[in-house]
């Protein structure tokens, strides 16, 4: 099953290598990885999409948690989470004068945007969750996809708690307590 794992890490050089090295060394599969600074400039968030059975995901979570530079690990796909998931995709599609209006209809239906036009092609920007992106790409495929560029999924929990947590990251205790109980709950399963 696909899991979206949100990882708060120290904003140092080398942390990305630690995380990606962990995945390759232990044979875990990353579907996508997106990294960016958080509201606290000393902390970055990595959003990792990975797949595997429960045992593999549990190991991924625990092994990530073990890295010294990892502050907090959260599986946003777990049962007790509600989240909003988005990916941004830029697609360069073949488009002649004759096919352009058909294309426009699809773009409008998906609330996507045309951000660039050439004589032979247009570039479409679309944002959405995985199923929307997949559907859009499927419909654009017949026109001829010249190039697809994806950011990888990012996601945010709908719980207001998460916002509080990441703000309070500097105050050790709450984060560690959550981090700790998380891994223990996991271990029990």
């Amino acid at each position: 099953m696909k899991h979206i794992i949100s990882v708060l890490v120290e904003n140092h050089f080398g942390v990305l290598a630690h995380v990606s090295g962990l995945f390759s060394a232990r044979g875990f599969n990353i579907d996508s990885l997106a990294v960016g600074e958080t509201e606290d400039p000393t902390i970055s968030r990595m959003t990792i999409v990975a797949h595997g059975d429960d045992r593999v995901i549990e190991q991924i979570m625990k092994q990530l948690d073990k890295l010294i530079d990892v502050i907090k690990v959260q599986d946003l796909t777990s049962e007790d989470e509600e989240m909003i998931e988005r990916e941004l995709v830029l697609v360069k599609v073949n488009a002649t004068t004759s096919s352009r209006s058909d294309l426009m209809q699809i773009v409008n239906t998906f609330r996507a945007k045309i951000v660039d036009v050439n004589p032979q092609s247009v570039t479409v920007e679309v944002t959405g969750n995985q199923s929307k992106i997949d559907a859009m790409l499927e419909l654009l495929r017949p026109f001829g996809l010249k190039e697809v560029v994806r950011t990888g999924t990012i996601a945010i929990s709908r719980k207001s708690e998460l916002a509080r947590q990441s703000q309070s990251v500097k105050q050790e205790k709450p984060v560690v307590a959550i981090k700790k109980s998380k891994s223990k709950v996991k271990a029990k399963k």
Binding site: H18, Q59, K62, K66, I68, K170, V175, V176, K188
Partner: protein, 562 residues
């Protein structure tokens, strides 16, 4: 406050950590540091190869529980430590390794003796640092020692560019460490609920068995485990890294389990209805075929590293935490089980009688088992013992008779041949005044024997017994049993070099044992010498280690000697 160079800050920081000895070898990028070391009061053990420095620091760490320190230069020196780091990482040994690095502005330019040491060592260290700014140096050293020695211990590497070692800054050693992603103290205390569930399972069990590993030694939980066993009457087996955590002379000891463990320990694990795993990680050399491991047992697993729990074997009662408080808490919740489990212990006694450890001794050949047994007797089972990897290692585990924690120092996880001799030197530095013995194979010894010069130069009184069977014995054994006796690469030639001559050439007293009847007197002579001694033991060439559970078989599918 006066400003110090980075090199001085490093040395002063080591002193603040209580370091007295460093193992190392100088070179270009680390020269400022060696200059600062020169009159610092820290003592340098000068090695002949950097792999030796890393194994010595590891041996020191395992013998004392405090991180051993090695300091080497950049590039090839740093890559030479990688085997030592990987060895320490697999066995959770505390170690701090400082490597020189080219100047920060030259990093990435393929400079002379440059290597991406941070990249190379990432998968074999608990953590590593590149110090880019002298202002962060003292903090980095503090964190390195903290990370190496707390939680599940392990090696930490500090990559130290030469310009940072020359740059100046005020020296202020931090008193505290605060790493937001690493809070081992908060993990150490086990949750009451987990303890209660496990205690309930122990109370209900009819065929319980303790399975104890290196984590119990790292935790220092010997007394707690001894009291737990004495109180409950539950039999106990250990992994190779757990040897010595519980005296093997005790009637409830089942000695070592696993591929070359005792038959009765393996039968006990397979027959148990509750396996209490304490600071062990279900290595494949312990479990045999994983889906046939302890088939009737519920499993309790105490470990400070949550990622060890349910990694290979499904655990029913996890306890995340330090072994010491966990066992102490469990002890309070359980009673004497001797009556309740008397059928079980009677069964185990029967297995012990039926399948004791044994070796052939009727044919008059000199056998490793015999020599090791004698070393055990003549050192009162009290020495610190290190080994290489292979047959001699397994026979040491079987025949020495360990009674004390931190007395068996061996590469269990990575299986690093060549580990034993430098590890013995490190252990001796950490435990001066104690008898330190390396029981080594002829193959293993030749991988790091250049450190004979180190032992001689620094007068480090280790006693190294080289079991010369002119083979890579364990490889030979597998080829005999599983590869149709095609001995590819396992014969070390018609004979080995004359080890005694090599010892003498290095200024190390060298003795020989070639007959069983001279064994005792030679061991005694070696033990009574105040300096290093090499003992060349010419042993039977084609013996196999038994019992043996072939790889991929269940623990009770055991081959034993006829």
């Amino acid at each position: 406050m006066a400003e110090l160079t980075g090199a001085r800050i490093l040395i002063e920081s080591l002193k603040q950590e209580g370091v007295e000895y460093v193992f190392g070898l100088p070179g270009g990028a680390i020269l400022p540091t060696f200059d600062a070391l020169y009159d610092s009061g820290l003592k340098l053990i000068l090695v002949r190869h950097e792999q030796g420095a890393s194994h010595m620091a590891d041996g020191f760490g395992r013998a004392t529980g405090r991180p051993g320190v090695c300091i080497v230069t950049s590039g090839p020196a740093a890559t030479n430590t990688v085997t030592g780091l990987a060895t320490a990482y697999m066995d959770s040994a505390p170690l701090v390794c400082v490597t020189g690095q080219v100047a920060t502005h030259a990093i990435g330019s393929d400079a002379f003796q440059e290597a991406d040491v941070i990249g190379i060592t990432r998968p074999v260290t608990k953590h590593n640092y590149l110090v880019k700014d002298v202002r962060q140096l003292a903090q980095t050293v503090k964190e390195a020692f903290y990370i190496a020695s707390t939680g599940r211990p392990g090696p930490v590497l500090i990559d130290f560019p030469v310009d940072v070692s020359r740059a100046k800054y005020e020296f202020n050693y931090p008193k505290e460490v605060n790493i937001r992603g690493y809070q081992p103290r908060k993990m150490a205390e086990p949750q009451a609920e987990q303890i209660e569930n496990a205690a309930k399972a122990i109370r209900a069990s009819k065929r319980p068995c303790l399975y104890v590993g290196g984590g119990a030694i790292a935790s220092g939980a010997y007394q707690e485990i001894f009291e737990f066993v004495e109180k409950t009457g539950i039999p106990i087996t250990t992994t190779i890294l757990g040897l010595g955590v519980f005296p093997e002379t005790h009637p409830l000891s089942l000695r070592m389990l696993g591929m070359h463990g005792t038959v009765y320990a393996n039968y006990a694990v397979q027959g148990s209805d509750l396996l209490i795993s304490v600071g062990a990680r279900f290595d494949d050399r312990v479990t045999g075929k994983i889906d046939m491991f302890a088939p009737h047992a519920k499993i309790i697993h105490i470990d400070i590293d949550p990622s060890s729990i349910s990694k290979t074997v499904k655990v029913h009662y996890p306890i995340v935490g330090d072994v010491k408080p966990a066992i102490r808490a469990l002890s309070k919740l359980v009673k004497d089980k001797r009556k309740q489990i008397k059928d079980w212990t009677a069964q185990i006694e029967e297995w012990k009688k039926k399948h004791p450890l044994k070796y052939k001794n009727a044919d008059g050949q000199l056998r490793q088992e015999f020599i090791i047994q004698k070393i055990g007797e003549l050192t009162n089972h009290n020495a610190v013992v290190t080994t290489g990897v292979g047959q001699h290692q397994m026979w040491t585990a079987q025949w020495y008779g360990f009674t004390k924690p931190r007395s068996m120092i061996t590469s269990g996880g990575l299986g690093t041949m060549g580990y034993g001799f430098p590890a013995a030197i490190g252990a001796q530095i950490g435990r001066p005044g104690e008898t330190v013995i390396c029981i080594d194979g002829d193959g293993s010894f030749q991988m790091t024997m250049c450190e004979l010069a180190t032992a001689a130069y620094h007068k480090i009184p280790v006693k190294v017994f080289i079991m010369d069977n002119a083979h890579h014995g364990m490889v030979r054994q597998w080829q005999e049993l599983f590869y149709n006796r095609r001995f590819s690469g396992s014969q070390l030639g018609p004979s080995n070099p004359d080890f005694a001559k090599i010892g003498e050439a290095n200024g190390v007293m060298s003795l020989k044992i070639s007959k069983p009847e001279e064994t005792e007197s030679v061991i005694e002579e070696a033990l009574s010498h105040s300096g290093p001694v090499l003992i060349h033991c010419q042993v039977a060439k084609e013996d196999n280690v038994y019992p043996m559970v072939p790889a991929g078989h269940a623990l009770d599918q055991v081959m034993d000697m006829a």
